[in-house]
Symmetry: C2
Subunit: 521 residues, 2 copies
């Protein structure tokens, strides 16, 4: 057995079945090993950002890692933007990078680069493998590290992939959460109960059913508000679940929302801060006098911590939650006429089916979507956790592969879509059930909003040329068809409704270009 | 004046007129400053790899830097692959990155990342600006550093861009080469003259007319061979110039070629090494007993060094070079019938006009092109210097903007084209005179070649799925049209000839999809 086969065998034994890859010569032994291990599936992305974004989407949905396989420093660099999102989303992800043969590094060949420095910017764990025989332990260690909700990068020299080795045992990941800190949770409970108004900000795994259930009990017992950050990585949402409020993007409404809390309890979420630094506005959105309490670290099980908190404030988890705490069914009416950002959101909310996975990178177009969705049939909602654009289309790939029985709908801004447009090809190759709604406002609309926010009204030609995408207009239908995805353009809410229903009824990928007025958000 | 205006004023005064950009909120003051300084032009790329590749192409053609403007760590990461190529090409390039406001960093907002670590992997010089008033000196220093043929990265905190400052003077770059080392060049001359056979490997600025002229004189006096590396950054080539031989990609023929030299003189080129490490093959292509002499460092003027070497071996630079040293006019005949890789190269060589700029990322398709071109009308030839794919289309943008009077022809592999496919949109927006020839063999053919080279003949389904791009086939005509570039597909040499002539006669961008048999290189 060579090192590559040992690595792949270890991954397979640990339950990894997908490898999102774009490879070169330095990864070929691992590629060949994917074929020598049954049940391993390689998914090609035509750009590494597609691979890493897909691995992010898979990890978010499954809560367990997929692996990537990327070519040297430049291949890793191409994947970093979406690894950045995965890092912020706390997605379990094993990131494999091929490296030149150890004895070849000193020659500084053309493709040599400082892979470790690149990997260090996104990895919670990283290692450069030192021998073929160590590849089993290294891989198991990487998988273990990823399970804490981080990127584990293993750099594997080419010669250690191809060299033969004898190993008696295939290592298995040893993952377990650290015990929760009961005393500090009890202290959090005491503070919540003695506060006039408490906010409970939840994130990560706490946004899944069990965490939401515990959150609902805590809310019922303490009258706290339950919130999440502007860009949650993954949240289960809809009828019968707790309606978790989203903290707004811009600082003024966010500060206004958060100013009411004497106490803020953080469970799987960081203290909220502004997305950018704005002159005269503090970075931290909580008032100085608000008490902050974190009830779980990344090494602890945030769901267990929340359940313990629920018990401590007096809830019985298997008792019925008061009906006013959970959402009731509610769908907006179908809008009519020419599409605006608001009508896009209304139409989607009026139509999306139960169990849909909504991958939202609509940015300014999808601003009004989330509040519409608390009473929809239960569904999953994913956002661009780290703010690095180009996550939506690749993430949809990973989500569709992770949950093939659930339809994926990607609400997608046009400027961001262009970043990883190659993803459409993988959607076509794998015949994934993804409907992409391209919000074509032909601009980086968020920058117009930021300029207006900064009070800048007079915009020169260079600035315009960096913000507007209308010269030439992008023909999304042609681009999608060019990559094998059937596509259609719509101008009205009625057309969108019709085409969205058609796309959802027909398995496989579809793209719908939504022609929005350019002044529309 | 604010810091951003000071920075832009310094760039303009130093002769920088183009800014290849994709920006976010943290760069907006610099964007606004581009409008307050007349003669500054912003070029939008719909992905940062387009911006950095275009800046590389511009710098290679002009020998002076353009600047980029990228958004935070993820924006820089997206640009790194083409910065890697620029680094290997020794392109002068000023790379500007916006950073969060200094006081906002501690909040670790979603888009925060270790920009310095990312920049360190590609930059020969880098600095994080420490005050608005320092932005003039910092920018001048960056420009100076870039002029030595390296990437100079300046990271500029958002608040230092918008804060007002008073500066009495706009700094100017202080660039000058270090003196050449005459004694070591004289020693090189002595060794060359006493060797049975010497090779002179030239690169960088030595591949321009003046360097080639000196090289021709040296060849005439010493009977040395003049060579360049497999992937030269920029070479002037054609009738009346010295025919510089390319060292082959694969190690066996390269070792064979280089084994004949007792002495190898390096002028602006590194000692040749294999592209990857292959089992049983040394990294270094020169034999152990070959003497190596470098006659210029990156801080010295390699052309001056070559001219001094020419004088030292007895040449008079303004004397006539013997006619057998320089190439005579020679064009291949037009081939006929279904396109193969060889016929693509022959057709292009049969047609390309004088002063064409050939941006070659044809990889396996263009293997036979270079040897055909020594006798063509003078033209420029650029390659993927660092081996990081996705350089061709962006590089063509920069070359076309640098030399608007010269037609640009991009011989482009399909798999590589997909990496930075967004470049077509910028070509359309700027109405650039670029003809892209997509070599559509629907595979990462180079990997098939590498597998065959490694003796692997039995290929499993995962391996195939990572190498072949035929399911679904990519419709390049639709993708190009979707981004505003007129396009056509051809199957035969005759059709290619007709469409290439048409495209060259019509200003503005065009794309021609060359349908190659998949087994064709």
């Amino acid at each position: 057995m060579n090192g590559a086969q040992l690595l792949v065998k270890t991954a397979k034994k640990a339950g990894i079945e997908l490898c999102f890859a774009n490879v070169g010569t330095t990864e070929l032994p691992i590629v060949l090993a994917l074929d020598s291990e049954s049940g391993m599936r390689a998914i090609l992305g035509l750009f590494e950002g597609v691979c890493t974004g897909a691995a992010d989407g898979y990890g978010r949905m499954r809560g367990k890692p997929a692996m990537t396989l990327l070519h040297l420093g430049p291949g890793l660099a191409n994947g970093i933007a979406n690894l950045h999102n995965a890092r912020r989303a706390k997605t379990p992800l094993v990131n494999l990078i091929g490296e030149h043969a150890t004895w070849h590094r000193a020659a500084d060949p053309p493709l040599a680069a400082d892979i470790e420095a690149l990997a260090g910017t996104v990895s919670g764990w990283q290692k450069t493998n030192q021998s073929p025989a160590a590849l089993s332990c290294d891989m198991a260690e990487a998988i273990t590290a990823s399970m804490y909700g981080q990127i584990a990068t293993l750099i594997v020299p080419n010669n250690y992939q191809w060299e033969e080795c004898t190993v008696s045992e295939i290592a298995t990941p040893q993952f377990s959460f650290a015990p929760i800190d009961r005393r500090s949770i009890e202290e959090a409970a005491r503070i919540m109960q003695s506060s006039k108004k408490a906010g409970l900000i939840i994130g990560g795994r706490a946004l899944r059913k069990r965490g939401l259930h515990a959150g609902a009990h805590i809310k019922a017992m303490t009258q706290c508000d339950v919130l999440t950050t502007t860009f949650p990585s993954y949240i289960e949402r809809g009828t019968g679940l707790l309606d978790v409020k989203q903290i707004p993007y811009f600082p003024e409404p966010a500060i206004d929302m958060l100013s009411r809390y004497e106490t803020v309890v953080l469970a799987g979420a960081k203290e909220p801060v502004t997305f950018f630094g704005y002159s005269g506005i503090p970075s931290r959105l909580l008032t100085d006098k608000a008490q902050r309490v974190e009830i779980a670290t990344d090494r602890q099980d945030v769901v267990e911590a929340l359940e313990y908190l629920a018990g401590t404030v007096g809830a019985t988890l298997d008792s019925t939650i008061p009906s006013n705490i959970l959402t009731e069914p509610a769908r907006p009416d179908m809008p009519q006429g020419d599409l605006t950002a608001e009508k896009v959101c209304l139409t989607l909310a009026a139509i999306q089916p139960e169990n849909a996975i909504i991958v939202d990178e609509g940015l300014t177009t999808s601003l009004t979507y989330y509040p519409l969705t608390a009473g929809l049939p239960p569904h999953a909602f994913l956002t661009v956790a780290g703010g690095s654009i180009g996550y939506g289309m690749p993430c949809a790939i990973g989500a569709a592969l992770a949950c093939p029985e659930q339809p994926v709908i990607n609400l997608q801004a046009d400027g961001s879509a262009m970043y990883t447009i190659q993803a459409l090809w993988t959607q076509a190759r794998e015949a994934l059930d993804i409907t992409t709604l391209i919000c074509s406002n032909r601009s980086y609309q968020i920058l117009k909003v930021e300029l207006a926010h900064a009070g800048i009204t007079s915009i020169g030609s260079n600035t315009l040329s960096l913000i507007e995408l209308d010269r030439p207009p992008i023909d999304w239908v042609k681009i999608a068809e060019g990559m094998g995805v059937p596509a259609v353009a719509v101008r009205t809410a009625e057309e969108l409704a019709k085409e969205l229903r058609k796309a959802l009824a027909d398995p496989g990928p579809h793209l719908i270009e939504l022609a929005l007025a350019q002044s529309s958000n």
